[in-house]
Amino acid sequence: MPKADTKAQKESKSAGSAPKPLSVEEESTLRESLKRCSPATIEAAIAYRKTEEASHLPAVIIGVIERFVEPDLRAKLKEADDELRLVEDLGIDSLTMMEIVILVEDVLQMQINNEDLRNLRTVGDIKVFIDCKVRGLPPPQPTKFLPIEQIVSVMPIQAPFLFLNEASITGSGAQGKYKITGQEFFLQGHFKDNPVMPASLMLEALGQLAVLYLLEGAPPEEGKVVDQTKIFFTSCEGVRCHRICRPGDLLSLSIKPKRTKMPLATFEGSIRVGQDKAAMAEEITLTFAYSDAKTSDAEVAALDAVEGDTRPPTITAATA
C-alpha cells in the first residue's frame, strides 16, 4: 500500500494538483459512510480520495448505486451495462436518487446540484457526469427526451411512415421506441394472414432515429444547423436480422454515430425486443447539408418551455 500511494501521488502531482493526504480520521469516516457497500467500493473510494484519479470513480459509483438497489435487482448492475435506466430497470425513485447523491457527495467531497441531477437517466449518465465533475469539465450534454409530439414537429418524415413513438438523445447517440400496433398499412400484405414487420422497415426505423439525432443532437459543426430537407439515405453495411418482429412487439432502437463529416454521417444501429437482439446494422450512412443557424434559438426556447422547471433554485452555497 505505501508504495502504491507514493506512485499514485507522484502521478497525480505530474498532472498538476497534489491531492490532500487522507488522514486516518477521514479514512475511518469514509469507511463508516460506505459500510454497507462492497469492500471493492470502499477500497476504490479510498484510492480515489488518496490519488484523485478518475479511473477509480466507476467502481465507487456503481458500488454506491448497488448499495441502494433492492437485492433482487443488484444482479443487473453486474452486467456493466451503461444503458441501464435508473428508474425503469433499477427501481430507483427520486428519493433514492437523493440518497445516492448525498452519499456520493459525502464520499467524493463534491456538490451536485438539482439541475444537473434531473438529466441523469442511466448508469452511464451518472458515470460520465461524475467523471466530468472531478476533471473540472463542464457536464456533458444532458439526455434530451423527445415525446412523439416533439418528434413529429422536427422530423421531415411523418405518419404513416414514421416508426418512432419516443426518443432520447445524448451526446453519444440516440435511443428510440416503436411499438408495432398491427394497424400499420403494410402489414396487410406483409405477409398474407401473417403480419411481420418488414426487415427493410426496421432499417428504416433506425435510419429515422439517425435523422432525428442529426437534427436534435449536437450539430456536427459548431454554429451550424442540419437542414431537415437535405438528409437522405446513402448506404447500409453489415445488416443481420435475428428475430421476427410482430404486432405487440416493442422495438428498442439504438444508434451511435461512428463518423460524421459533411456530407456523410455514419452510424451503427441495433434493435432489441426486450432482451432479444432483433436486428443489427454495422453501418448506416446518411447524407446531409447545413443551413443557416438562425432557427436554433427558437428550438431551444421551445425545449425550455416543454421542460419548464418550477422548482426553486438549488442551494449550492452549503459547505460540507
Binding site: F68, L95, E99, I102, E105, D106, A318, A320
Partner: protein, 423 residues
C-alpha cells in the same frame, strides 16, 4: 347506523409481541417493566421503563436495526420509519393475518387507516441537528416522513397500499382512542367498510424522559412495583412503547367474510375538561361526560357495564380524578363495574395507550377474563368504594369500557360488547 366489529389484532408491546403472549401475560398479571439501561446514569432520576423486546432500534440508521425474523421489511420501507414505524408495520402484519384479510381486502377503496403517533423525537432532533451541522442539502430526504407526527399513517398507507380514508390523531395519551372513535364513525356512517387503527410510540429516552421534567414519571427503581395505579403509594407513570393495530369491520363485511369477531365496538364518547393543559380536572368532569356520551351512544344502561379498563397511569392526581368520574356516572344506578388499569403491567404508552388497551379489552371479551389491577398493596382510600379488581377474574364480561385521557383535558371512552357466537 352500521354495527362495527373488532376482527383483528396485532401487538408489539412490553408484555408480548403476539396475541397469545399478550393475553397470557394479562391474565397472569405479568408485567413488562425492567431496569432500563439508558436510564442508568446517576443524574437520571428515573430508572425503569417497559421497552419492547426482540427489537433493537437504538441506532439512528434504520438499516442497523434488528427485529424478529418473521418480519421482512424492505430497505425502501425502513428508510422512512422511526422505531415506532417499524413496530406499527409489524403489528399491522399480525392484524392482517389475525383478521384473515386478503391483499384485495387491505388495498380497497372502502378500507382506510387511522394512525396515532406523536412522531419520533429522537430522529427529529437528529435530522434537525444534522441540517444545522452539515447543511440543508445533507438532510436525509426521508427524515421528515420518518420523524414527524403522522409518520405511522404515512408509512403504513403507502406500504400496505391503503386506498380509503387515512389521517392521524394527536391528542397525546388519548390519540389512539380518538382514532378508534373516528374509525368507528367512518364505518357506522357507511363511509368505509373496514378501518385499521394503529397507535404507536418509540418508547425510548426521548419519548419518555421529557415527562420527568413535569414530575410525571415514577422515580422508583423497582420494576415490580413502580407502576401501581390506585395504590396509595403511587408516584408517577412508567414509560413504554410499541404498537397496536386493530381491524374494525362493518357487520356486512364480517358476514361476507364469515369471520368471528373479537367483540363489537358499540359506541364512543368524548368530552374535554376545559381546565388545565396537563392536569386532569380534579373531579374528572370531562371524563365523566365522555363516559356518559359513550354509554348513550351505545344505547346501554350504566348498570350493564361489567368492566372498565381505566386510563389510570399511576399518577397521584389522575387516578383519583378518574375514580371520581366513574363514581359520577355509575353511582346513581348503584352499579359497580370492575375496574383495573393494565398500565400496572405495560406502563403508559402515550399515543399507543388507547389502541393497546382497547386491544386488551377485545382479548378479555373473546377469551373470557377480566385482568386485575396489579401491584396494589395499599388501595388508595380515595377509590376504596370502587370495585378495583386486584386479581384477574375468570369470567366473561358482556360490556366493557376503555377510558383514555390526554393533554389539554381530552377524554375518550370506548364501549365494547361481547359477541354471542364465541364459545
Amino acid at each position: 347506523m352500521a354495527k362495527v366489529y373488532v376482527t383483528g389484532l396485532g401487538f408489539i408491546t412490553s408484555i408480548g409481541n403476539d396475541i397469545t403472549s399478550v393475553a397470557e401475560n394479562l391474565r397472569e398479571m405479568r408485567h413488562g417493566i425492567v431496569a432500563y439501561e439508558p436510564f442508568a446514569a446517576s443524574e437520571i432520576p428515573v430508572k425503569v421503563a417497559a421497552p419492547v423486546r426482540d427489537f433493537d432500534t437504538d441506532s439512528l440508521d434504520p438499516e442497523d436495526w434488528t427485529y424478529p425474523n418473521r418480519y421482512r421489511v424492505r430497505r425502501e420501507y425502513l428508510r422512512s420509519m422511526g422505531p415506532h414505524g417499524l413496530y406499527s408495520f409489524c403489528s399491522m402484519i399480525q392484524a392482517i393475518e389475525d383478521a384473515g384479510l386478503a391483499p384485495e381486502d387491505v388495498s380497497d377503496e372502502e378500507t382506510g387507516l387511522f394512525g396515532a403517533s406523536a412522531g419520533s423525537p429522537n430522529l427529529l432532533t437528529y435530522y434537525v441537528r444534522r441540517m444545522h451541522d452539515l447543511g440543508v442539502m445533507r438532510c436525509s430526504p426521508l427524515g421528515i416522513v420518518a420523524s414527524i407526527a403522522g409518520t405511522v399513517q404515512f408509512n403504513l398507507v403507502a406500504h400496505f397500499k391503503i386506498k380509503g380514508a387515512s389521517t392521524g390523531f394527536a391528542s397525546a395519551c388519548a390519540s389512539s382512542s380518538h382514532a378508534l372513535g373516528y374509525a368507528y364513525d367512518e364505518i357506522a356512517l357507511g363511509r368505509q367498510k373496514r378501518m385499521f387503527v394503529v397507535g404507536a410510540e418509540d418508547g425510548n429516552v426521548e419519548t419518555i424522559l421529557p415527562f420527568a421534567g413535569m414530575r410525571a414519571l415514577s422515580p422508583s427503581d423497582d420494576p415490580d412495583t413502580a407502576s401501581r395505579p390506585f395504590d396509595r403509594g403511587r408516584d408517577g407513570f412508567v414509560g413504554t412503547g410499541g404498537a397496536t393495530t386493530l381491524v374494525l369491520e362493518s357487520e356486512e363485511e364480517v358476514a361476507r367474510r364469515g369471520v368471528v369477531p373479537y367483540c363489537e365496538l358499540a359506541g364512543w364518547g368524548q368530552a374535554s375538561d376545559g381546565h388545565n393543559v396537563a392536569i386532569s380536572h380534579p373531579d374528572g368532569h370531562g371524563l365523566a361526560n365522555a363516559l356518559s356520551r359513550a354509554i348513550q351512544s351505545s344505547s346501554i344502561e350504566p348498570s350493564a357495564v361489567d368492566y372498565i379498563n381505566a386510563h389510570a397511569t399511576s399518577t397521584p392526581i389522575g387516578d383519583v380524578s378518574e375514580g371520581k368520574a366513574i363514581r359520577t356516572v355509575f353511582s346513581p344506578s348503584g352499579s359497580k363495574p370492575a375496574i383495573s388499569s393494565t398500565k400496572a403491567l405495560t406502563g403508559h404508552g402515550l399515543s399507543l395507550a388507547g389502541a393497546m388497551e382497547t386491544g386488551f379489552c377485545a382479548l378479555a371479551l373473546r377469551q373470557g377474563f377480566i385482568p386485575g389491577s396489579a401491584h396494589v398493596t395499599d388501595l388508595d382510600p380515595a377509590v376504596v368504594d370502587l370495585n378495583i379488581l386486584l386479581e384477574t377474574e375468570e369470567r366473561r364480561p358482556q360490556i366493557v369500557i376503555n377510558n383514555s385521557s390526554g393533554f389539554g383535558g381530552a377524554n375518550v371512552a370506548l364501549v365494547m360488547r361481547a359477541v354471542p357466537s364465541v364459545g
